[in-house]
Symmetry: C2
Subunit: 362 residues, 2 copies
């Protein structure tokens, strides 16, 4: 282990892209989507060997904290940091940075997601170690993912000059961040060979990111300082409660990364990374049978059914499919979704529609 | 009304082709599939003007009789004839023939289905009247349906020489009955112009059909005579109970019609007939919205969904479809069926599989 290296898992998301399975009360990271353990538990498990549980922090919102703590009791209770309400990833990083700076001014923090899958976790750990070394060189490090297909679902990072290498992994300057592209643009970036997917994970010294907050988000920075001053005092909680509602929601990407100085990227290869960002993405990480079907749940009769995912929450109900292919069938008891696989991202439309209609089924 | 004309509605079927909606305990004819009234009620309603309720008989099995009587209380209770168990349509016809012969030796009986739809009911009534006249000429009359497409789902009747006409409808000799054909054969018969679909409905004098039973099914005939002898006596019920289990199951088509003498057919035209024999067939008789969707039930959100039928039994459940077409989605609470429209007849495979597995969900 490295004494001053800390993991910060962002676990406050209320992701709606796996609706109707993921809900406000049980977001994606809490769900055992790919086995017995939840995505959050998997995200913690794969840090083994790089961080001790004591070095792992979790930032979440109050109403999710209990379940997450139950799922990973090995992480000390005081390492669960609670936002009163979500204010975007910039403030998540800020809150964790305050906590770490109080504990260890030399801290290097890895900002990690709670709901992604790495099929090759050893590669991921090596990426974390090389990012630590790069962060010690004062860089703000983004963990990139070498693209394997022209995805229109991820943001991209254009790599500039080679900077250095750590643990056999090359580190490049970041030329620019590119938003989710259309297909032709995605294809061009894939072919260019100098673009990586933006995983939304970062590694940096806590002092460096505080410096960037001060320069680029002075308002958030002063609020974080307010909290920092009372961190070890009884009023910490009440200050957070008072300050948090005033924070302007912002992502770390827009708020900091796009205009930060000395940003580098390490394009991770062979990670088997999947952000499980849609029902279609889930297809890629689950084992299928000979017909390409993925069955999660019992009591299912498939007749001439191919490349279809059926998810059923335990309930005494029989599901029968006949003559269908490339379909997603999700039965949560209160909601039934029948969706063509390649249009699964449109569940977001449904979620919006339900929100506008009063919030049932969310 | 015609004094000696009687309708016999065969309502004992346990049809499985609209499974999971139709069940052993609630077969197709009991269900309000195309409006507020059940198919059985519709089958009774459309006889208005040709038969008085007193002239209508219903043959069914014991465990369906209560619901049917509740649905059509205008038919006298004694006109509901109960089979102890199903033994095919030959014995259904036989039991009704016994009852009618006891009541009126000159009876002409129309053997009718309980679960078909006629969009033009006036045409159907005219067909019934012309069939009565033909039956009075000693013919065994089959009600044909002039085919409108090369169906592979129905049996056909090849017409021979013209015999006579009643109520402007032509009556033809029957050359032969043809089983459900393959597609090229169906197309050839459609083009021939001398084939009608076999609706499974017949009209004849009760004496004529008794004669055919005696000649072609002597065993059934003697059992029917046994019942006939005690029809007005207290032991009628116990004799039926004793005799029925010994009857060899047989259809009227195979048992009688194929080798009967003087069989004629009246090919009905413009009836808008539909046997509602599958989920696909149900599409044809239900009104669709602009996207071709047929929605039976509330709480449904269709996103880019076309030509899809959604049936939901009232339950607090939301159904969402995204990017699908030509699909049948049936949610009965305990069973969920998702089926490509043109493969809907394969629910029979499922029913067989469930039967073999012990009979759950049937």
């Amino acid at each position: 282990m490295i004494d001053n290296y800390y993991a910060v898992i962002m676990a406050g998301g209320g992701g709606t892209r796996l609706w109707p399975l993921s809900r406000k009360a049980s977001p994606k990271q809490m769900l055992p989507l790919v086995g017995e353990r939840s995505l959050f538990q998997i995200a913690v498990d794969r840090l083994d060997g790089v961080f001790t549980p004591d070095q792992i922090y979790v930032v979440t919102v109050a109403d999710q904290a209990d379940v997450l703590q139950e799922q990973c009791p090995e992480i000390p209770a005081e390492n669960y940091l609670l936002e009163p309400m979500p204010r975007g990833t910039a403030s998540v990083v800020g809150l964790a940075a305050v906590a770490l700076q109080q504990r260890d001014p030399q801290a290097v923090m890895a900002v990690l997601t709670a709901d992604h899958i790495f099929q090759n976790e050893a590669h991921f750990r090596k990426l974390l170690l090389s990012a630590y070394d790069a962060a010690q060189q004062d860089h703000l490090v983004t963990l990139g993912i070498a693209p394997t297909f022209p995805s229109t679902g991820y943001g991209y990072i254009q790599q500039g000059d080679w900077v250095e290498a750590h643990h056999d992994l090359d580190v490049y300057q970041v030329l620019r961040f590119v938003e989710k592209p259309d297909e032709s643009r995605a294809r061009a970036m894939l072919e260019s060979g100098d673009h990586a997917w933006n995983s939304g994970m970062f590694v940096w010294q806590v002092g460096r990111i505080m410096e960037e907050f001060k320069r680029q988000m002075p308002d958030l920075s002063s609020k974080l300082n307010e909290i920092s001053r009372v961190w070890d005092q009884p009023q910490r909680e009440s200050v957070i409660q008072r300050v948090w509602p005033q924070i302007q929601p912002e992502t770390i990407d827009y708020g900091i990364m796009e205009n930060a100085r000395d940003v580098v990227v390490i394009p991770g290869e062979g990670l088997g990374w999947n952000d499980v960002g849609s029902w279609e993405a889930l297809f890629e990480v689950l084992p299928a049978d000979e017909q390409g079907n993925i069955i999660l749940g019992d009591e299912f009769i498939p007749i001439e059914t191919r490349d279809t995912l059926v998810y059923k929450k335990s309930s005494p109900r029989l599901i029968v499919t006949i003559g269908v292919e490339d379909l997603v069938v999700v039965d949560t008891g209160d909601v039934l979704l029948v969706c063509k696989k390649d249009q699964a991202q449109k569940v977001r439309q449904v979620v919006k529609q339900l929100k506008d209609a009063g919030g049932d089924y969310l």
